[in-house]
């Protein structure tokens, strides 16, 4: 893309033009260097949108909850974006992105931008480019961005690192007790939402949550609030939206939000750096091929020896490049 075209694209994104936003998101998903260039230019404008993550086991009704919350905020005149992430099949590389259709009423609202993403081989609940896509929504002057993902594996942690506030959505009779859930779930929740609260087993689930908090000796001020909703009827949504708004307001005022964002930014930078190094070692320097050759050579090889071998080659190559004035571009 030309420099002129890039500027034009950014202007159009700022103006909220859907196609420009979508195109910029695609550049991010494809890892196109044009996105990184654009990001450097627009990063200064980011931060206006509040980013709310929703995660939890399948069947909890997250999409319905997102739809309900979003409609509530829309009625209050807020501009919204939604990012819905679903897993890519490790066998076929394909994905069925079915969250959008579960928010069908929202999809008809012109003031809401919905983007469906597949994880594309990344373990955990978010795609590599989720942060980037959320940035584009932020840039297009949304007030709120909702990020929805299925809570399995590491994804609860992932989504907390990409958002200002994390809602863990559970439902009674889900079959999993809290103890069976990953430790990560308990660490990242800023708020618990028990959806489908009209189903039997509500009291038991609340008690389990409280028991786990007791077990971890959490002082009262660090205990996340537990709210109940029935997203399909709208019950509890207004209250939930209020609590979310107030919590974010309070965190902004106290500086906690800034700390969270800074921590998230640090993690993101580490991810970018590590990702780049990884590509550099294995792909750019073709050390993946080298490793395969050595393994094919046979004999009993120590993993440590092989690793040392790779690292030596890498460092030598990097030193050579520095001497000759070439820089590997991430």
């Amino acid at each position: 893309m030309t420099v002129v075209a890039e500027s034009d694209l950014l202007e159009r994104v700022l103006a909220g033009e859907a196609r420009a936003c979508a195109r910029l998101m695609t550049l991010a998903e494809r890892g196109d260097p044009a996105f990184a260039r654009a990001h450097r230019r627009f990063a200064g404008r980011l931060g206006q949108a509040l980013r709310i993550g929703l995660t939890g086991p399948p069947g909890a009704g997250k999409s319905t909850l997102v739809e309900g919350l979003a409609r509530h905020w829309r009625q209050a005149g807020r501009r919204l974006g939604v990012v819905a992430v679903d897993p890519t099949s490790p066998f076929t590389g394909g994905a069925l992105l079915g969250d959008r259709v579960r928010m069908s009423r929202l999809a008809l609202d012109q003031g809401v931008f919905i983007r469906s993403m597949a994880t594309r081989g990344v373990f955990g609940g978010l795609a590599r480019a989720t942060d980037d896509v959320v940035d584009v929504l932020d840039l297009s002057r949304r007030d709120l961005v909702l990020v929805e993902t299925v809570g399995v594996g590491q994804s609860e942690v992932d989504v907390a690192c990409s958002t200002d506030l994390t809602l863990v959505v559970l439902h009674p009779g889900g079959g999993d007790t809290i103890q069976a859930m990953k430790a990560g779930l308990m660490e990242v929740a800023d708020l618990y939402v028990i959806n489908k609260a009209d189903m039997p087993g509500l009291e038991r689930l609340v008690q389990e949550l409280l028991d786990v908090m007791d077990l971890r000796d959490l002082p009262p001020e660090r205990r996340p609030p537990i709210l109940t909703t029935v997203a399909s009827t709208g019950q509890g949504l207004q209250e939930l939206a209020r609590v979310v708004d107030e919590t974010l307001l309070a965190r902004r005022a106290s500086g906690a939000l800034a700390v969270r964002r800074s921590d998230n930014l640090e993690r993101r930078v580490r991810r970018l750096v590590e990702g780049s190094l990884r590509r550099d070692v294995w792909e750019t320097r073709r050390l993946s091929d080298h490793l395969h050759q050595r393994l094919a050579g046979g004999g009993t090889l120590s993993a440590y020896d092989l690793a040392d071998d790779v690292l030596h080659l890498y460092r030598d190559a990097a030193r050579d490049d520095a001497r000759t004035g070439l820089e590997g571009t991430p």
């Binding site: 069947g59 999409s63 319905t64 069925l96 079915g98 259709v101 579960r102 069908s104 009423r105």
Partner: protein, 563 residues
């Protein structure tokens, strides 16, 4: 070779087989089987041979019995086709009411016994012909009925007290039925003279056909309103046709079709009992509707199992006392999804054996598809052949000369038992999910169907399931003579829209407004809505206007799809 206990399906341990059987087994094993999966179209494995030993444990009297006697495996009536053949009822409808009226007269003149109305998509979804969403869709898949005037035209010259009519309509069924009843009254008929059916099976819409408008609870209320009204005022009418056809067309297996359909029916029974209706007052008028698909014996076994399961539940679980409350009576339609666009004349033959299965399964009424229906709605020529298919079976094949001729066939009885067991297992799963409506809300039925559909498609793509013309004996048909097709010109839509607008100018706006207000009031209370619908129909309120009141009162339903 399996030897199983027929009541449990468990292998009979220590079963001793006769020496001749063992000899057969050896001879059979010595000959290589041909390259085929030996499965039904539902992917159920079919045994090479079934013998008396496989059904030896059956209590023949209790399980099979006699026609017209509990559990009605052999048929709901003692005399079946010996006294009266099944009703030949071809589903028809297209264009305007006038077009369809002409087709009805054509079919009645050629020996069709009863009428069956196909409505267009706008009507099915509760939109008038002039609604923005109706553009391009008016009269294409069925007849456009937006008002009483259209209904009057549809039945012009057809004596409604003498001809029974089935109407395939679901979400707005109560309203369309109201228009029908008012039309009949204007012809001078009494309500108690009228016979027919409205499909009115909303549960399968959520599950399979997706022609829903309102959410489940108010939709069930409308269904119970119609059942109640029928039992009190239109006693010859079938207010529900509990359907499996669409479930099967959406891709379910035969056992799924059987179990999901019966489960839906039982959900309606429970809803009626909850309202305080007496089971023997409404159950005699419940009817069913099944698909007749490619696997000949699987379908026959399905129908027989259906009757047996239904009789037992109605008597033992729901307390029915009269035989008429326990007998499952059904309409059959040959499988639309079995037809191919390739080599379309083959469809005539597929439809023939599918129809035969329905007859050997004891259906009360039958629709046979036309060979051109993978392309368009049927031409006159094609639908006549479809009707002749039934007549040839009825008058020339001899199968209607005796009742339930396949009873006692070891293979068929064994298969009937297996279908019943499979259905009971599914009932158990539905119960575990909390019942039909919770299962619908969880997307469970929809997911089961989507999986079966995908599995079947993979069987076809791999060539395991052979379909002539599609993946077996495929021909280049580009040079073939193009079969004539029914074309529905866009002028039908324009004419319909103009007529509707004229109607709106001519009628009394005040009467319409008052009637719509009554619907709103009655919808908000627990008053049976049928009288309000009839009043509004008589005032020439349109379908869309009445449905809009209900949309506001009940809300609309959007599904969360499962794959």
């Amino acid at each position: 070779m399996r030897a199983v206990d027929p009541s449990t399906g468990a292998p009979r341990t220590g079963a001793s087989r006769s020496p001749s059987f063992l000899a057969w087994q050896e001879a059979f094993g010595a000959t290589p089987e041909r390259d085929a999966p030996f499965e039904t179209v539902s992917c159920e494995s079919v045994p090479a041979l079934v013998t008396a030993e496989d059904v030896a444990g059956m209590d023949m009297a209790a399980e099979i019995g006699l026609p017209g006697q509990f559990p009605f495996t052999r048929g709901p009536y003692a005399s079946m086709y010996r006294s009266r053949l099944w009703t030949m009822r071809q589903f028809a409808g297209f264009g305007t009411a006038a077009d369809t009226n002409a087709r009805y007269k054509y079919l009645l003149a050629r020996g069709q016994d009863g009428l069956s109305v196909a409505f267009d998509l706008p009507t099915l979804m509760g939109y008038d012909s002039d609604h923005a969403h109706s553009e391009g869709e008016v009269g294409r898949c069925g007849v456009a009925i937006s008002s009483l005037r259209d209904m009057e035209t549809l039945f012009d010259g057809i004596p409604m007290a003498e001809v029974t009519t089935s109407m395939t309509i679901n979400s707005p069924a109560a309203i369309i039925w109201a228009m029908y009843l008012v039309t009949a009254q204007k012809q001078g008929c009494r309500l108690d003279q009228l016979g027919g059916t409205i499909q009115n099976d909303i549960l399968k819409e959520y599950i399979a056909q997706k022609e829903f408008i309102f959410p489940p609870a108010p939709s069930m209320r409308l269904v119970v309103d119609t059942i109640e009204y029928a039992s009190q005022h239109v006693p010859r009418w079938h207010p529900v046709s509990i359907s499996g056809y669409h479930i099967r067309e959406a891709g379910s297996t035969a056992v799924q079709e059987l179990a999901f359909t019966l489960a839906d029916g039982f959900a309606y029974v429970e809803a009626c009992l909850e309202r305080g209706l007496d089971i023997d007052a409404f159950a005699p008028r419940l009817s069913h509707f099944f698909n007749s698909h490619l696997d000949f014996f699987e379908e026959i076994a399905k129908y027989r199992a259906a009757r047996r399961i239904y009789a037992r539940r109605m008597r033992d679980k729901y307390g029915a006392r009269q035989a008429r409350s326990m007998t499952l009576r059904f309409h059959t339609q040959t499988a639309g999804c079995s037809l191919t666009a390739q080599q379309p004349y083959n469809n005539l033959i597929r439809t023939t054996w599918e129809a035969l299965a329905g007859v050997l399964g004891g259906t009360q009424s039958l629709h046979t598809n036309s060979m051109d229906e993978t392309y368009a709605l049927p031409t006159e020529r094609a639908v006549k052949l479809a009707l002749r298919t039934q007549q040839l079976i009825a008058y020339e094949s001899g199968v209607a000369n005796t009742i339930d001729p396949l009873a006692g066939s070891w293979f068929v009885e064994d298969l009937t038992n297996r279908m019943e067991r499979g259905a009971e297992e599914i009932f158990r799963q539905i119960d575990e999910l909390g019942g039909v409506i919770p299962a619908i809300e969880k997307g469970w039925f929809q997911q089961q169907i989507a999986r079966s559909a995908y599995q079947y498609q993979r069987e076809v793509e791999s060539g395991r399931q052979k379909i002539i013309g599609v993946n077996h004996h495929v021909e280049d048909e580009s040079g073939d003579e193009r079969i004539e097709l029914l074309e529905i010109g866009i002028e039908k839509e324009h004419g319909q829209v103009a007529a509707l607008q004229a109607l709106k100018r001519e009628r009394s706006a005040a009467k319409v407004a008052a009637a719509l207000e009554r619907i709103r009031r009655d919808a908000a209370s627990s008053t049976n809505l049928m009288p309000a619908f009839m009043e509004a129909s008589a005032a020439y309120a349109t379908l869309g206007e009445m449905v809009d009141v209900l949309r506001q009162s009940f809300g609309t339903w959007r599904e969360s799809p499962s794959f």
